[in-house]
């Protein structure tokens, strides 16, 4: 396995075509390039606004993706609407690509919900906080696709695949590895997209492994691919190829997008304790958005007017997030009771009356 990551777009914005398994990647049309750039810009704006909201006390916590926009937008845009996506808790950029209302991403971190959107309506599952757990759900969903007969038919309106996100740290969880076992043995239509941002909170990747993430797949007998995670075009191409292969019935792929999260693990984390600012600077120089912007400019795909319009859209999004966040309703006090089971069991109904009386008495007192 080559450990040199696939790269199409250099940090300075120059493009080099590359023959992937599914033929040469690119050229990408100017509209597509602009759209990808816009996705990344908007994703970053979601992130920036959320961090600000956290600082203002509107959110309890926010896991920033700063620097991972290319990986998320590349992978997110590679999936078709019929593909099913399983995120971790950091896939705000993928959520954007799946048309999930960005305001609804905030509820989990504001404490108004543990979910926030309908997992069925955008084929974008709920965030999963337990590291690795979602990889097995993704496997099960892929088993469902096989049972639906929606794989390897050659009909693009029918074939589907699962795209599941995971972090470098999650490679050490037993469940993630079980997911690899199942996917490989049953040759399931699934793509494991690992954003190797090189850190699991304070643990550098060397705590987990001495070999690249992508190599893990070989041990299970399916292909592992390494891409420059700050290169949206490489991420898009590799994920498209892998999803095509999965939909065609050729089984799973593990993609390692080699990247870096320039913010601490979450807003609660203090990364000054465990890593140096210079590492951060080096990765800032490889910024995924700046890279594509340069390409857009140098290739003439976008002009100043375009960027000005984009900035206005960004600002509007920021405004929407700020207003939307504050307007997120508190969940009704009975919601946990009502959502535990389909029908409220008698004992729990009793506990709910206890609770309702108690809450009412509290409101009474407060008045």
């Amino acid at each position: 396995m080559s450990t040199e990551p696939l790269s199409l777009l250099a940090p300075d914005g120059t493009f080099t075509a590359h023959a992937g398994p599914a033929g040469p990647a690119g050229p990408f049309g100017p509209a597509e390039l602009r759209a990808l750039h816009r996705d990344m810009v908007m994703t970053r704006r979601i992130d920036t606004e959320a961090i600000a909201l956290q600082r203002q006390g509107e959110l309890g916590l926010w896991p920033s993706l700063l620097g991972q926009e290319a990986a998320q937008v590349g992978a997110g845009r590679a999936a078709t609407p019929r593909d099913v996506v399983f995120p971790t808790y950091r896939e705000h950029g993928v959520a954007w690509c799946r048309d999930v209302d960005p305001v609804s991403l905030l509820g989990l971190f504001r404490g108004t919900t543990l979910g926030g959107w309908d997992p069925a309506s955008n084929n974008f599952q709920l965030y999963t906080l337990v590291i690795g757990a979602q990889t097995l759900h993704a496997v099960g969903y892929a088993m469902g696709i096989v049972r639906d007969g929606d794989v390897g038919t050659g009909d693009p309106g029918r074939d589907r695949a699962v795209l599941v996100f995971l972090g470098d740290g999650s490679l050490s969880e037993g469940e993630t590895n079980e997911a690899f076992v199942w996917a490989a043995a049953q040759s399931l239509p699934i793509v494991f997209f690992c954003q190797n941002n090189q850190w699991a909170i304070s643990s550098p990747y060397s705590v987990q492994s001495r070999v690249p993430v992508a190599q893990r797949a070989q041990g299970f007998g399916f292909p592992g691919v390494r891409v420059d995670g700050n290169d949206v075009l490489a991420c898009l191409s590799a994920t498209r190829d892998a999803l095509d292969s999965a939909r065609a019935g050729n089984g799973p792929t593990l993609i390692e997008a080699f990247t870096y999260c320039r913010n601490p693990h979450t807003t609660s984390d203090d990364d000054g304790r465990y890593r140096s600012g210079s590492e951060n600077d080096a990765w800032a120089a490889r910024d995924p958005i700046e890279r594509l912007r340069r390409h857009l400019v140098s290739s003439g795909a976008a002009d100043a007017a375009h960027f000005a319009k984009l900035e206005a859209q960004e600002r509007a999004l920021g405004e929407r997030l700020r207003t939307g966040c504050r307007a997120l309703p508190d969940p009704p006090p009975d919601s946990s009771f009502r959502n535990t089971y389909v029908d409220l069991p008698a004992e729990l109904a009793g506990q709910l009356s206890e609770h309702t009386e108690f809450v009412a008495a509290g409101q009474e007192d407060a008045r």
Partner: protein
């Protein structure tokens, strides 16, 4: 109606569930050609194919985790955990995912997953093959936990479990697999959540479930000889617990014995005692007695007979309730 072993009744129930709904998929270790180590799935792979009866890789997290994914994709998976002691690798998927998903999704989505587990001791087995893990599940909000004691109930409950949109942990008492009982394939089943009074009585209530139900009935028979009338309640659904049926009984009898194989501390007996002392405080003529496995790991099989609650121990407990 014909006398049928519980293992066969379960097989018939699963077969019927698979016929009724082609989105029912079974997953587990050795459930295909072997038919499961207890033969509960015997013949099902042959008849429904290996996409619907899946011989899984050897990993319990994978079994439950993939079942969750299948449920998200619209299927109704029924997992088999080979033995009670091997459910713990799946505990993360069960507790943090399966049980909580509907709540996380704000009621928008449910996970109709059944996790079948052969449970309990008394079969002379080696370590990890005689455990009673029900309290872990009963303490976990979001799960239903059921445990049949007869072939008819096994058949009915497994079909109802498959139809349930809530996740169900389905405990199959191993000692009862080969006990026979009448089975009517088309009987109207009792509601899952209802405990069942198997024998009416006035002097003392004995509550239990699974493999100890025959023990409780034998206790009631002996009590009758001694002039005491014992009411026997089969819990059936261990979570949520049907305390209404228990309270009805205890309000009449004033005495309660709860028996289970699981260790005592923080077991279901504790919960039932806690509820009954609260809700039937003035009816109780004696403290609720628990007859349970002890607070040790399950012993080597040479010691299990005395370790497990049996007729004599339950009788002793009944006696204790009359000492007050």
């Amino acid at each position: 109606m014909s006398p049928t072993a519980m293992a066969h009744a379960l097989n018939a129930g699963l077969r019927r569930a698979m016929e009724d709904d082609d989105r029912v998929v079974l997953i587990g270790e050795d459930i295909g050609r072997l038919g499961g180590v207890f033969r509960v799935t015997d013949g099902l792979q042959k008849d429904f194919g290996d996409l619907r009866v899946v011989d899984s890789p050897l990993g319990e997290a994978g079994i439950v985790g993939s079942a969750i994914g299948l449920a998200m994709a619209g299927y109704r998976p029924v997992c088999e955990i080979q033995f009670d002691g091997f459910v713990f690798p799946a505990m993360n998927q069960i507790v943090t995912q399966l049980a909580k998903y509907r709540h996380r999704a704000e009621g928008r989505a449910s996970l109709p997953v059944v996790v079948r587990i052969p449970v309990g001791g008394g079969i002379g087995a080696i370590e990890h093959h005689s455990e009673s893990p029900e309290a872990y599940f009963a303490h976990t909000a979001g799960l239903k936990v059921v445990c049949p004691s007869s072939p008819q109930d096994a058949y009915d409950l497994v079909r109802q479990a498959v139809r349930s949109d809530d996740p169900v942990v389905f405990l199959e008492p191993k000692r009862s697999y080969w006990r026979k009982g009448e089975l009517d394939l088309d009987a109207v089943p009792a509601p899952v959540e209802r405990a069942r009074v198997l024998r009416a009585g006035d002097d003392v209530t004995v509550v239990t479930y699974g493999a100890l139900v025959p023990v409780a009935l034998e206790v009631a028979r002996i009590c009758a000889e001694e002039g005491r009338s014992a009411e026997v309640i089969d819990l059936r659904c261990l979570s949520p617990i049907d305390d209404a049926t228990i309270l009805d009984s205890v309000r009449r009898t004033g005495r309660l014995v709860v028996a289970h194989e699981a260790s005592r501390t923080a077991g279901l007996g504790a919960e039932i005692a806690a509820r009954v002392q609260d809700r039937a405080f003035y009816s109780l003529e004696a403290p609720v007695q628990r007859v349970t496995g002890y607070d040790t790991p399950y012993p080597p099989s040479r010691l299990e007979e005395d370790w497990l609650p049996g007729v004599d121990r339950v009788l002793d407990a009944v006696d204790r309730t009359f000492e007050h």
